[in-house]
Amino acid sequence: MPKTLKRDLFPYLLLLPAIVITLVIVAWPLVETIRLSFTDASLKPTENYIGFANYEKIFSRRFPEVIARTFYWMALSVALKMLVGTFGAVLLNSAVPGRTLARILVIPPWVIPIAIGVFIWGWMYNGQFGMISGLLQRFEIIGGPLEFLAYRETAFLATIITDVWIGTPMVTIFVLAAMQAVPGDLYEAAWVDGAGRGYRFRRITLPLILPAIATMSLLSAIWTFNSFDIIWILTEGGPRGGTTTMIIDTYKTAISRFKYGEGAARAVMIVCILTAFSGAYFYLISRFAKKGA
């Protein structure tokens, strides 16, 4: 074998284990899921190919409503996370006493195991024994116990608040890192020119951290769209489907009801939507990289 060919092939040889592992762990299940989505696979030992029947079925039932709810849930949650997270980053970036302690305290929601954090929130939402209902009653905002997870609207908001609580620290840290990368001399020059705090934030900080915010928003959208554990632990998609998102619906169909074919069709739809998000993410990254260059 010519020496140059050997040299050219060597990097691929090194990549081979990673490629094989990726094919086995990612590609094969994906292909298998797509295949299953065209079958009537269930608990039965045999399965038949049924064309697009599973896709037709999901659109003929309540799935469009579930898709709309998923986007609404994601949009609201991501918007709140970005807003609260960015605000938190601005505060932590300010020269205020106790800043280091505050930076440490912002982390726990992110590092506490999700299941434990969500169970704690579940108790807080309890009407009879929970803290939130208790406080609201004490301040006479509500007349009696309020079960937050018992009504569609309050349960929907409760799952979002919990998701925001868990997801915000990541946003804060990410945006804080971007803020600290802004060169200090820009602020000094603006200060010398008489620019106030608000002006400096609008004209210097915000434009320079915008790529980080955009990137974080997209990443957060992908994670939030696929968020399962928070909703499942708090409401299992109830009451009356009020918190059923696509991932919950897919789990219920494929795992609880053993309709693997129908569940796979729903999973394929999720993959398509998340692929679009990922495409947007890579496009943004490349755009920012070009601008940076």
Binding site: Q128, P145, E147, Y151, E236, G238, R240, K252, I255, F258
Partner: protein, 401 residues
């Protein structure tokens, strides 16, 4: 080099000999934990069975209730079934329809040991698909303290739905407590609770011919009554499954609730237990729930697994297990009379057996449960009326039967 090869060969030979001598494993999945007194008896019986069947070893795996049935079913559908597993009898028809379990082939003498309604909980297409292992009926618990505080006779429990509602209303209006503990969570026992009202009003979900009859006038009344109870229940019944009611009862926050015999050990204060009040079209009734040992197909040890399951559930061993665990006895044996003599609160649960009805036996149980629960939640939330809820559910249930 030669030394290494010889050593390697010796190790391999040793391993293969060990493998040859290894017992055939019988994988048994048990729901819940391994702390109950009945489990100790079960362990002893399994040890005895292993002695009588050399070459077989039983591996008992305890899986929490929430994941237990799903795990056994998923293992079976993936081609590596447990040999025998503890399953809710409601799942047996689905497992049988998908060829995942074997019939347990009971002799007439064996069948005769069970009351007919109990046998019905494991029978589909004329065959029995599981050996009943645990059993429960439900009854009505009331707080004598709250009845007194509301000006009601604490020694006279309501006998009809109307009386039950009036008592709950009196408690809600005249005390700080709520009238009744009601459940409507997205959980299996919401449907179970509702079925108590279906059976005390002469209703059914699916009839003997396999037709969905959920939209019967009897069930509309049951659904409407459930919605009516929500007006005198604790706030937000959708946040509650049955397990969350007894703490409310003990705290004096609810005046009454319906549940199984296990609550008797947990309740505090002055309380009573009686048959479930009867609806306008009904006679006494209750939901009969059994859990069974099911023998899965494809484990390679089906005969041994069935033999073991029959040993564990034969009249003598089953009764000992039930007494140790505090379960409702499955069979009417002499020990049962002793139970009532010792503790009169048993009678509300035992007397209900002959008039009880089984869980609906369908091929997609989870769908059935979700559909009925959604109907209940719709009525409890006031989003739909009882007629519409029952009609919609009946239509959707066609896909689940």
């Amino acid at each position: 080099m030669l030394k290494n090869i010889l050593l390697g060969t010796a190790v391999l030979a040793g391993l293969s000999t060990a493998a040859l001598a290894e017992d055939t494993r019988i994988h048994m999945i048990n729901c819940g934990d391994n702390n109950g007194d009945g489990i100790k008896l079960q362990d002893q019986l399994i040890a005895d069975w292993e002695k009588a069947n050399p070459g077989f070893k039983v591996d008992v795996e305890f899986v929490p209730w929430g994941q237990c049935q799903e795990k056994s079913t998923t293992l079976a559908s993936a081609g590596s079934p447990p040999a025998v597993a503890y399953m809710g009898s409601r799942t047996l028809k689905q497992l049988a329809a998908n060829d995942l379990i074997i019939p347990v082939s009971m002799s007439d003498a064996e069948k005769a040991t069970y009351a007919a309604p109990i046998l019905a909980t494991v029978t589909a297409n004329g065959e029995q698909w599981g050996l009943p292992r645990a059993f429960s009926t439900k009854a009505y618990y009331w707080s004598k303290d709250l009845f007194k505080a509301a000006g009601l006779d604490p020694e006279t429990p309501p006998k009809t739905w109307d009386e039950m509602y009036e008592a709950a209303k009196a408690i809600k209006e005249k005390t700080d407590a709520d009238g009744v503990g009601l459940v409507a969570a997205s959980f299996d026992n919401t449907m179970h609770q509702f079925m108590n009202y279906v059976y005390t009003n002469g209703g059914e979900v699916i009839n003997a011919d396999g037709e969905i009859v959920f939209n019967s006038p009897n069930n509309v009344e049951a659904m409407a009554f459930y919605g009516k109870l929500a007006t005198v229940s604790q706030p937000g019944p959708i946040a509650y499954d049955r397990g969350k009611l007894y703490p409310l009862f003990n705290e004096g926050k609810i005046g009454m609730f319906i549940s199984g015999p296990w609550e008797r050990k947990k309740l505090t204060g002055d309380w009573g237990v009686a048959p479930i009040p009867v609806g306008p079209k009904g006679t006494p009734g209750t939901l009969l729930i059994t859990d069974s040992l099911a023998v899965f197909k494809g484990s390679g040890v089906e005969a041994q697994a069935l033999d073991l399951a029959k040993l564990l559930t034969n009249p003598e061993n089953q009764m000992a297990f039930e007494l140790a665990e505090g379960y409702t006895p499955l069979r009417d044996m002499p020990e049962v009379k002793g139970l009532v003599a010792k503790d009169a609160t048993w009678s509300a649960f035992l007397d209900a057996i002959p008039t009880g009805g089984p869980e609906p036996f369908v091929t997609d149980y989870v769908a059935l449960q979700d559909i009925i629960n959604e109907a209940i939640q719709g009525v409890v939330l006031g989003e739909v009326d009882a007629v519409a809820a029952v009609e919609e559910a009946a239509e959707r249930l066609e896909d689940a039967k």
